[in-house]
Amino acid sequence: MKYEPKEELKERIKNLLWEEAEAFWDFCKRPLPNVIRCNTLKISCKDLKKKLEEKWNVLQPYELHPEIMIIESELKSGELGKALEHQLGYYYVQELASMQAPIALQPKPHEKVLDLCAAPGSKTTQIAALMKNKGLIIANDIKIERIRALNSNLERCGCTNVIITKMRGNILCKKLAKKEFFFDKILVDAPCSGEGTIRFDCSVLRMWNLDMIKRLSGLQKKLLASAVSCLKSGGFLVYSTCTFSPEENEEVVQFALDNFPLELVDFELPLKARPGLVEWQGKKFSPEMRKCKRIWPQDNNTEGFFIAKLIKK
């Protein structure tokens, strides 16, 4: 790795994984597999596989999710993102762990869905595909350069049921709730410290610090709280991050459970996942927190992720 983890981070990972911490750091040094998601809005999984097999060795490791494909062939740098099939929107280059949040959300055609922190659009395009372009998605982000990437990806993938908005997430939700514009499902894929993305970009190790985690935890609580205000009763909310720090995960979910009419629900994923923590550094969380899922790189050869699914009572 170009950057070494700070001692404080090593200690925290050790406290989360104990004897497995070494395996975790070992995986962080390995390159990620080349994973793509077939964009079923434009092509069937069967047809895409057939086309790609003319040049690459393609695996579909998950029977219930044929859209997930692993390219086993050795690729030139940037080849996946420059191939004709990519430019035509037949697939999205998306890390396997990142695909799990929309799988947990289970959006259906004709539902109204809010993707609060949507850019660059990997999960929004996945949600649109699961909804077969029917229903409505509001995809929001705050930075214009990230909105440009989101827009380009939505257009490339032919996602026709999406409205893109550019606002602070909490302000957007406040305005929508005031007008009683409620959603069936909401994804809050919150900005985070990115400890789970070390394999993709180890520069997160250089920027990592506890102050940042504390600051992000506050922002995440604010975003989650505002999202709840525009969720229908009986609606589902998925909260996810690509980090391991409990302050950004279980602590945020506990805050939501303590302050809003929410319950954690069980959900299935195609990946091996570990339960959420019920305690961290002396702080106790609800036993229900075990329903959350922690995805560790060493379990599935992926990046790291945290996912919680909540229902509004």
């Binding site: 026709t160 893109i164 550019k166």
Partner: protein
Amino acid sequence: MKIEFLSKKQKKEIKKMLLENYGIRIDMVYNLIKTGKNKIRFFTGEISEKELRMLNSLIKIESIGIPFLNLEKGPRLAFDAATLFGKMATKNFLELNKEQALRWMRGESIESEEEKERFLIIKYKGYTLGTGKIYKKKLLNFVPKERRTDLIDS
């Protein structure tokens, strides 16, 4: 964002235009939205016109649906709309050979024997590669920069 819903009559005209020009039959149960002069977007979001107008006055809408048609000097399907609907084209399409497809996806215009000025849907080995325009014995290229590539085959 300026949003103007096309009326039933306008949608019917566009449906006819697509059918006559390309043989593409699209059910116009969805919304077509005009966001600029001659620029039409395709939007399948299930929201009433009234609700959308309310949203547009309330929050900052950056974009809605995907670019669909440019009506300036004829019906030109946008690149990403062509890759979505182009496989339905039964007329006014042009099949390129490998060398032409490579040049096309690099963003080059291609020489043509034809003289009649018209828009064509471009195809290559079952792929739709957007729309081009025959103009002065050339097939003018409209592939957006961010969709260009020189990796069209293994």
